[in-house]
Amino acid sequence: MNGECPISVVVGSYFRLSVDRGAIDFEKMKPGETKDNVPVEGIIITSKTNVGDPWYLKISNDSPLSSGPYVIPNSSFIWYGWTDGAGTWYGTGTNQMTFVPELMYSSGANEKNNLPNGTNSHLKFKLTVPKGQPGGKYLSNVKLTLTE
């Protein structure tokens, strides 16, 4: 005698972005000075999904580096990096930060479901403080967006 017991399971969708730190600091800089390769070890951005669709990683900031009324324009703030993934890395090495999210990486065909390890990308920044820039502590929030 056989009995049947139907079993069902609902696998939830997983779509998550993690960054290995929440802040970076260019520390003290003089007007006219350029600092590159920050942070030296790079920021590790891990994108994980099991949704099964192509996904994209974008970068932007809401406002330029600001200190009170003074700003360092985004044209002086460069992002670059590389990826461990099999998709397409769009950084040219000289991308200026933008307010509109700019494409950084698009997933490869085998990354539509990349659990458990996800796909790591690495990000660095270069900043030039314009000559004559007023002194002060400048701050900006860089936003990383993982989207389908």
Partner: protein, 172 residues
């Protein structure tokens, strides 16, 4: 039954666009900071001037009618002050001419407060010669102030070659 099917279909068609409208998206933020150091810059267009030969009791002007041009700029974001002083009174060996006899005045091309429209003597170190405006506090705007100097040689001054160093100090 037909009504049920129709309702089901309608529901499905209504639901489908919503299902596709919600593309997944998630964000993370990194706070980026930099501390820009303020740059202080002070230049003087000459490293010496003199009053040539003067007799006791005489009052005379320096030998540079255009004065000494002192250019200041700052990117610190804070107001700054310019002071003029001497490191010591005019001195020749053990003899001196007191700073109350050594006066300065001049003009400013800046938009701040110039305090040297009237003569002031070097013995009075209580006030700044120039106070920057808010605009000049952080924009690296070069401000030129022109200083002129006068000397009164007291009647009882002994002859000699008297020297001192005039110092311009820029501070926040």
């Amino acid at each position: 039954m037909k009504k049920f099917l129709l309702l089901t279909c309608t529901f499905t068609f209504l639901l489908l666009p919503f299902t596709f409208a919600f593309a997944l998206q998630t964000t993370s933020s990194i706070t980026v900071t930099v501390t820009v150091q303020g740059a202080f810059n002070l230049t003087v267009n000459t490293d010496s001037f003199d009053f040539a030969r003067m007799a006791p009791g005489q009052k005379g002007d320096m030998n540079m009618p255009e004065g000494v041009a002192v250019a200041s700029s700052s990117s610190s974001g804070n107001p700054w002050y310019l002071k003029v002083s001497t490191t010591r009174p005019l001195t020749s060996g053990s003899n001196t001419i007191g700073n109350e006899n050594f006066t300065w005045y001049g003009s400013s091309e800046g938009s701040g407060e110039w305090r040297g429209t009237n003569e002031k003597n070097m013995a009075d170190q209580s006030t700044a010669a120039y106070v920057s405006s808010a605009d000049e506090a952080g924009q690296s705007t070069k401000v030129t102030n022109k200083f002129k100097f006068k000397l009164h040689v007291p009647e009882d001054t002994k002859p000699g070659y008297y020297t001192t160093t005039v110092m311009f100090t820029m501070t926040e």
